[in-house]
């Protein structure tokens, strides 16, 4: 629930309440444009300077049948005057465009919550479609909420009469009416949205005008009718100083790849095959060819990673993007990259599994696949971002490792990060790390013979030289058969194989990663909560709640899952209890227990949705108090 931080009455107008935070959810039919509506409100909040976090939620079908439960699409937005960590557990305000949206979402609305309903869709037919015997608008079942019934479609139609736009097109604008109304309620700036609409429909000016009119109609409806007694203000957040933009995980990730190419002074070759929820990375990168980014939409995932690996052999930054099922298909080629010791970035935007699973939902269940999903001993570094904006830094980190250690690196994002958005403190391009590499140029045979040994190693990093075709005198052959260390010749020698297996492992184990940092303000916590990936938000929010209640809890969030930070073992042993919340059945917990023999408690939820802060607050509280 939102906390009131003061009241005031604007002359004549409705009362204005100041809130520190609000959670709004727009819900409607897939065809109703809820994602766009949410995006725009997000931009307005961002432009206004609130901190925010979003959670889009849509069906796997492109357009499930109109007005049905599977067809419901929703967008939840949490904005506040302080820094927040999650899209919010439950909405304070729920906007529903039809009966299906009401049925699917009203359960999440707490008593007393604001419920804004587009009444036009509440026809007998639509009601029965979703199994409402009686009209919920009439049967008192919504009495515990602050209900506002608005005939959005009708009102929109009315507002657009002048335009002479067809009924169907006019009806399509009702989401902008809803946006206008909410913008009014929360004192949002409107220029941005109007400019956006004119830009988006530049091709069809009449449609653009219609959307703007609908948007204003919604605003005016709030302003002129007495329907709404209260409006709300959420002041800008006091975030770290700097310039911000709103960004989604997939966009930030794509930017990270572009930046990595620039910082490494290497062309980027993306070999990819579309798959939800990773496709947008391919889409974004294909827009930025001017940065020397080649995007190859391959015939399948295997060809995608193959092309990336081939490009890497040629001296490019090879990247492949996919989701879990794609990683399964790429696993043999990842093994080849391990054997040939070439740099390669493999991005897995995790989704609900196993198999096709829940393509549009989020999950963290590919960690062990990333660790072990290959034949033989084939270790790879694994890195996971913790939020949409963080994917940018995670990519730079991953590329640094790939280039320095000549190894494929797996980066594990997920659906929540990919489609979620947050304000992003725009990095200064000048401050980005230098990732430049040096290719081999000279023969290096220690025996003085003027030959080139492709598997001679840097004693520091154990990396082999990167000798790209076109370099005179360094002609060499690599491949998937076991190599003699040093010369790189095919070797069936037993001792060499044993040596190479251990060496490949040592190379990865030896990668220096930053120590894990503990967040324990009180400094006396006896319970440690350890997470990775997108659960950062809910875990952090839960810690805050627990601490607000005067209890102590320590939080560690891992970015590097292989190798682990050097201090992790000691750190785990410092606490009486370690709990590991994961959106899987305990995959990180398994690795920790095996490596450190600590009795890490695994708390898991595999529902295709992010954890709720409330839920984790309960888990932590129980653990702390049950001691």
């Amino acid at each position: 629930m939102s906390v009131e931080v003061g009241n005031g009455v604007s002359a004549g107008g409705p009362e204005v309440r100041k809130l520190d935070r609000v959670v709004i959810r727009f819900a409607g039919d897939s065809g109703d444009g809820m994602q766009l509506t949410g995006d725009r409100f997000t931009s307005e909040a961002a432009a206004f300077g609130n901190d925010l976090a979003t959670l889009p939620n849509f069906p796997a079908e492109i357009r499930a049948p109109q007005g049905t439960l599977p067809g419901v699409s929703s967008f939840q937005l949490h904005f506040a005057d302080y820094d927040i960590l999650t899209p919010g557990d439950r909405p304070d305000v729920l906007v529903v465009m039809n009966p299906a949206a009401l049925k699917a979402n009203v359960g999440d609305l707490p008593a007393g919550g604001v419920l804004i309903i587009n009444t036009d869709e509440f026809t007998k037919r639509n009601l029965t479609k979703v199994g409402y015997a009686v009209d919920p608008l009439g049967d008192g079942s919504l009495d515990s909420f602050q209900v506002h019934q608005v005939a959005m479609a009708t009102l929109t139609q009315g507002a657009l009469e002048s335009t002479g736009l067809g009924k169907k097109d006019a009806d399509r604008c009702k989401n902008m009416f809803a946006l206008g109304l909410l913008s009014w309620m929360y004192h949002r700036p409107t220029e941005g949205t109007e400019a956006f609409l004119r830009d988006k429909f530049a091709g069809k000016p009449d449609i653009a005008e219609a959307n703007v009119l609908a948007f204003r109609a919604g605003w005016n409806y709030g302003e002129t009718t007495e329907a709404f007694a209260v409006t709300y203000e959420v002041a800008p957040a006091k975030l770290a100083t700097g310039t911000y933009r709103q960004i989604t995980g997939n966009t930030a990730l794509a930017y990270g790849i572009i930046a990595a190419g620039q910082q490494a002074r290497l062309p980027v070759v993306l070999g990819s095959y579309p798959i939800t929820p990773a496709s947008d990375i391919l889409h974004e990168l294909s827009k930025h060819k001017n940065y020397g980014v080649t995007t190859i939409q391959a015939e399948d995932e295997i060809a995608g990673i193959g092309a990336a690996l081939g490009a890497a052999y040629g001296g490019a930054l090879g990247v492949t993007t996919t989701s879990g099922p794609g990683v399964a298909l790429k696993s043999e080629t990842i093994g080849l990259a391990v054997m040939t010791e070439l740099p390669l970035l493999v991005i897995d935007v995790q989704r609900g599994g196993p198999s096709t699973g829940l393509p549009t939902k989020t999950e963290q269940a590919d960690l062990l696949q990333a660790m072990f999903g290959r034949n033989g001993e084939a270790p790879v570094p694994i890195i996971a971002p913790q939020s949409p904006g963080d994917t940018f830094d995670a990519v730079l980190d991953a590329v640094r490792i790939a280039l320095t250690y000549r190894t494929p690196v797996l980066l594990l994002s997920d659906g929540a990060i990919a489609n979620g958005s947050e304000p992003w403190l725009i990095p200064d391009a000048a401050d980005l790390p230098d990732l430049s590499v040096t290719f081999a140029t000279e023969p290096n045979a220690p025996d003085g013979s003027d030959t080139f040994w492709p598997y001679l190693r840097d004693p520091e990093t154990l990396a082999r030289p990167w000798a790209v075709p076109g370099t005179p005198g360094l002609q060499h052959r690599i491949g998937g058969l076991e190599k003699a260390d040093g010369t790189g010749a095919i070797s069936y020698d037993p001792d060499n194989h044993d040596h190479m297996v251990r060496l490949r492992q040592a190379k990865i184990d030896g990668i220096p990663v930053p120590d894990a940092v503990v967040d324990d303000p009180a400094g006396d916590a006896r319970v440690l909560v350890l997470g990775w990936g997108s659960s950062y938000g809910p875990i952090g929010a839960a810690c805050r709640r627990v601490r607000r209640k005067g209890m102590s809890v320590a939080q560690v969030h891992l970015r590097h899952l292989n190798p682990f930070p050097a201090n992790l073992g000691d750190l785990l042993r410092r606490y009486e209890r370690v709990v590991v919340p994961e959106m899987n059945l305990g995959q990180l917990a398994l690795l920790l227990r095996a490596k450190y023999l600590v009795d890490a408690i695994s708390y898991t939820k595999v529902a295709g949705l992010p954890f709720k802060a409330e839920e984790l607050e309960g888990v932590l509280t129980d653990l702390i108090t049950s001691q």
Binding site: T241, Y255, H288, I296, E299, P469
Partner: protein, 356 residues
């Protein structure tokens, strides 16, 4: 995105690959690795042909890359003193595509087998062909799986008795040339491991072709499929079976050119006839440069699984835009249109500033 945009017609297959004045000899292309094929393997002959052919290109050796899959034939790169990748089974065309797209200064060759290219690798092959990536693909067709010790392959004749088909295989095989043409291949040729001269001719044309060139090489495996191509090598009978394709020439063959290929006007199918039995003019003239692959396809159908009639040489050789040239052209176009501005990209349009 048409050939013209890129002025493609002028570009040869080796355009952009640095050349050298230094004279080269076959031995310059021998690597230090000892060759590990069975005695009498047809791969030796192909290796020798390639090693003596490469110097004629006058390219810098370091700008040549051979990429292979897995199989006996796929050991090929180890024996060439160029850059090379012995990758995984069936994936060479995909890996080579990434390399070729990003490195126009390289001459990229793929070496593969009938199992590697047509069984596990079939999808990458047909997509590479339709995209017309500037790669030269040497398909060693011994009509058997050699490295895994003799199972039938997608080119084995029906009823083939092998370790995995003791009662005979029940698969209808591919006709690699037909398959390639059906997949929009812009260059398709066939040669014999034993015919150094024609093989070299074909390799030259393949190298000169801008786009994907598929060269099917009939290769004898003395261990698991010995004599598969004997009828095409037996001096006594080979002329009756091999139909050499020469561009612009009527398609005639036989010891004394006594046979010709004629088209049935009713069906459009091609047939072999004694030239004495048909009037001179009806023998069709070969034209590998036709945009329409129909005749090339019809020629490929002269060959059935018993290899009674086998056209060799170049079936098709047309100019068409290549995937990699166009991909690079888009990059250039984008770069000319939009200067690099990383900060601008990161900042984007809608920003807000938090002051302290």
């Amino acid at each position: 995105m048409t050939a013209i945009d890129l002025g493609l017609p002028e570009l040869g297959g080796l355009h952009g690959v640095p050349t050298t004045e230094e004279p080269q000899r076959a031995k310059d292309y021998k690597s230090d690795q000892e060759v590990r094929w069975c005695p009498g393997c047809g791969d030796y002959a192909v290796l020798a042909a390639v090693q003596s052919f490469l110097p004629t290109l006058g390219l810098k050796r370091e700008n040549i890359v051979f990429v292979s899959g897995i199989g006996c034939s796929s050991r090929f790169p180890y024996y060439l003193n160029t850059y090379g990748v012995h990758s995984i089974h069936g994936r060479a065309p995909a890996i080579a595509t990434g390399l070729a797209v990003s490195r126009p200064d390289l001459s990229v060759w793929v070496v593969t087998g009938d199992g590697d290219a047509l069984s596990i690798g079939g999808n990458h092959l047909i997509h590479t062909l339709r995209r017309n990536v500037n790669l030269k693909i040497l398909l060693f067709n011994n009509r058997i799986y050699g490295l895994t010790k003799g199972q039938y392959s997608p080119t084995s004749e029906p009823g083939k008795i092998t370790k995995s088909t003791p009662m005979g295989s029940v698969d209808n095989p591919f006709n690699p040339v037909s398959l390639a043409l059906g997949a929009e291949a812009t260059f398709v040729a066939r040669a014999l491991d034993s015919d150094r001269h024609q093989l070299t001719e074909v390799l030259q044309a393949a190298a000169a072709h801008r786009g994907t060139a598929l060269v099917e090489i009939y290769q004898n495996c003395p261990i698991f499929n010995d004599g598969a191509f004997d009828t095409l090598k037996e001096p006594s009978e080979r002329e009756q079976h091999i139909i050499p394709l020469r561009d612009g020439q009527p398609i005639r063959f036989g010891k004394d050119n006594e046979y010709g290929v004629v088209r049935d006007p009713a069906t459009g199918n091609l047939h072999v006839r004694k030239t004495t039995e048909v009037d001179e003019g009806s023998v069709i003239v070969h034209d590998a440069t036709q945009q329409d692959p129909t005749q090339a396809f019809a020629l490929s159908r002269l060959t059935n699984t018993d290899l009674g009639h086998v056209p060799t040489g170049i079936f098709r050789n047309i100019t068409a835009p290549t995937y990699d040239d166009q991909a690079r052209a888009q990059i250039k176009q984008a770069q000319d249109a939009k200067p690099i501005n990383l900060q601008g990209l990161l900042t984007g349009k809608d920003t807000w500033t938090v002051a302290d």
